[in-house]
Symmetry: D2
Subunit: 144 residues, 4 copies
């Protein structure tokens, strides 16, 4: 199995309001940090810049907490698509400190969704092509 | 393998502010809903009522989104401990609509943590005992 | 000047995630607590139950913090309309503890808004009438 | 009366999660944007870098919404102290778009607070001096 490449990186500033009574970012913020990177990927890699272009819904998410996220801090959040099915795609994430320490890792599965008909839909051809080119995927999977 | 029992239930009101541009609760809110039930469990089952009594940190969380969470809504969030190790414990969650539909499911792994020494610590005996009694666990596992 | 009546009350549960590093609800949560009461008022007093029925935008808000909001806690949030103009209306809020202590007070000004044309609009006649009846307002103002 | 100078500026990235069902940042986010600038001011102007150094509590906040905050967006948030009393200080805020448009304005009153004794305390001399130098205040007030 190949190592995730996660070429795409996005800086995310921790906010004071992310910090909970424990003195570190509340664990739910991991999904917010992932989301900022995913949204930037959707704009810049997939080429869909608008809020209305986010035409997928979350099916699953997994988060592994490795170290505390402190404040103030500028995180580097990496994201990549590791697998595409007909209607869904799987992403992996890494959140690192400025020093490069891995703070949070995770993955998520998204399903393309038509908000008008409220049903799932196939991944559009241009979305699929843009992701395959960026990720060097072959038939929806990372190359062996 | 036994079915999760998840005897403990906690009502959680969806807030307007949980709703994102898609018209449903933002996916990060799943962790907030889980947390309200987990905190109530810690108060009522484990018998530790104070904020300072939350002496564990999150190691991992998994969320499976089954249906949209709408507003206004009073959710029923169920939680239970399914396994205890020496220092960690695993919980399962179910978020249901008033009609009983499963909206979100998930799990999390917590590690007991000493905030003063900033290291993990064993599950205290009274915590372990309270959970075993409530969950009818035998040696840290659900009965076969 | 008459005392605000604020007849309408709505319970709001404090969430663990509202609590910041200071051990009390983050000050931004005041607006969330106000909002839950305002949304309930819009559904129950004004008679507009849907998310699409919230056809106003915020113009101004003022918050006065009187005492710390702790967790766990079920707040009583009171809200009322104190003045209506042609296109805007002014609300007052009180957040109280279960013991009746005033924790937060505040006010907000909303402007009726047409999201399609992205311009302000007059307060619809049925909205105005429902508010006047509930609040015993005379010509858009509290009775002297 | 002198115009607020608000020399201190801090960039704040809007997050996708700030956006509500109306397609713009939820109105409560104004306080979060203010806070990021205030925390940076406390670190950089006042010279107190740590989380434990935030030894004040909010007494009052006022927000005036001028235009919608959209996503993605890098805001410029300006903050300054306009008045100091013995125990409290008043700040003003401006949130601007990259093009310089005023999106949100506001103010807040903070009271110095001793978390151990849970009572207010005077503004420490070094804090007062650092603010007076930065803001060119004379006896706690902006120069006429």
């Amino acid at each position: 199995m190949t190592e995730p490449t996660l070429k795409f990186a996005c800086p995310v500033d921790v906010r004071f309001q992310d910090i909970d009574i424990g003195g570190h970012a509340h664990h739910s913020r991991a999904l917010i940090y992932f989301e900022e990177a995913r949204a930037a990927y959707w704009r810049e890699v997939v080429g869909r810049p608008g809020l209305d272009d986010i035409d997928y819904i979350m099916a699953q998410a997994t988060i592994r907490y490795r170290a505390r996220v402190l404040y103030p801090n500028r995180l580097e959040v990496r994201v990549g698509v590791q697998k595409m099915g007909r209607k869904h795609f799987e992403m992996a994430y890494e959140v690192r400190s400025p020093a490069g320490d891995l703070l949070i890792a995770g993955g998520s599965t998204q399903v393309m969704y038509d908000y008008h008909t409220q049903t799932s839909k196939p991944i559009p051809a241009d979305v699929r092509a843009a992701i395959e080119v960026h990720e060097s995927l072959t038939e929806g999977r990372a190359k062996p």
